[in-house]
Point group: C2
Chain length 222, copies 2
DNA sequence: TCAGTATAACTAGTATGGTAATTATACTAA
DNA sequence: TTAGTATAATTACCATACTAGTTATACTGA
């Protein structure tokens, strides 16, 4: 029990809330913030708010200008590209490594995940499908015992997440996505690293977003 | 105390100092810390110390146990492996990309860096040689406009840095290292990505450290 | 009307006091 | 002596006061 609520601190609460609002663009890029305003709104003191701000600044979701103010960072397309770059090369290496490291229990996890993906797809529950997609990739990292790497990649892609929200990008072809997941699992379980890597590479190309259009529609966000 | 230089803030001063002490193992893995003790020692208040601690905890150099205490993290060989893994795959991709992106000014920077490496080697200034080695790789990341990625990789390798300090690992064969640097620059400038990547891969294998011996010598650090 | 300036309001940075949880210590009783 | 318990000391967490730097505002004078 204690282990679960180990981070029930006010600081963590504020951090999660603000982070969520930024990524969902409820706090739009460029929005002015202040420790006092936020602490009043959330009815906590400045200290945990300030500490949450500092963390978010390190993740480049906030920019703190000393003695002046704090703003929600604008979407940095260079950072988006770095996130994409790292994800591509690391995920390709991960599926290769997974081929030789996977055990039966982990294979079962992947297969179960895909079954649930199919179920969610049939039911039209795309929100859950999106989460299962994330979990699928997380399982691959866990197989390789590289959980931190996954977290860092997720952090590097927070600006991309905002792009996705802005574009209202619902995946257009979930069928293809799920099929690729199936292929990846098959190749990993059959220890075929080249095919697994190739499939992952194509899989990652599905999530490319049309940036120019968004930059025209929301110039003040970039 | 207003003895500050880099970002100016007390927080940054404390952060840099503690981080440096941890990486150089002046604060050994497992050492007990406390906000108050550190603030007294550095003659600052608890606030900037606390904020520096939080940052260092996110970088897994400190572990904060709520209401209990703070300790210098032990060396996590799994994290070391993750850092190595990410560095290997990203640096290989970086040299490939550098082949098509490098311009004459950047080529000059790389060549100058190598000249200075040779000079430092002749003079026996291995400390400077070590720093030039780091700068060499940094230039490659800059060519690809992926500075953040470089910083994140450096952060992921802080536990490895401690291993290196403990092992007193002075590079045994700088000549080979410098020669590989030369080869990489040549292949990048001649737009030969396969050879550049291959050389980088071998280059990174030179810095592998004998972990088992260290774990025997300093069991309390792991 | 407008430029320049003094001033007020606001910001993040720092210092410090109090709180609750944990841990070490001293004491009591068998 | 030892196990159990009450107590003291220590810790990180949170709230708040104060400082110094920045920015907006009102005022002054031409």
């Amino acid at each position: 029990m204690k282990n679960i609520e180990i981070n029930g601190s006010t600081r963590e609460f504020v951090y999660q809330r603000i982070k969520s609002q930024i990524i969902n663009c409820e706090l739009t890029p460029g929005t002015k913030m202040s420790e006092k305003e936020t602490s009043d709104k959330l009815e906590v003191s400045r200290t945990p708010v300030r500490e949450a701000f500092l963390t978010l600044a390190q993740e480049e979701l906030l920019r703190i200008i000393p003695q002046s103010g704090t703003i929600v960072t604008k979407i940095d397309l260079q950072l988006v590209e770095e996130g994409r770059f790292v994800r591509e090369h690391i995920e390709k290496a991960i599926v290769r490594e997974a081929c030789s490291k996977i055990n039966t229990d982990q294979l079962f996890q992947l297969e179960s995940n895909i079954k649930m993906q199919e179920f969610s797809y049939e039911k039209g529950n795309f929100q859950q499908l999106f989460e299962l997609d994330g979990q699928f990739h997380t399982i691959l990292f866990e197989i390789c015992k590289k959980n931190r790497t996954n977290n860092i990649i997720k952090q590097m892609n927070s600006h991309f997440d905002r792009l996705r929200v802005l574009s209202l990008a619902t995946v257009s072809n979930w069928e293809k996505v799920i099929h690729q997941h199936k292929d990846i699992v098959q190749y990993v379980s059959e220890n075929k690293p080249d095919l697994a890597e190739k499939t992952m590479e194509q899989h990652l190309k599905l999530v490319i977003i049309e940036k120019d259009e968004l930059r025209e529609r929301y110039p003040e966000y970039f």
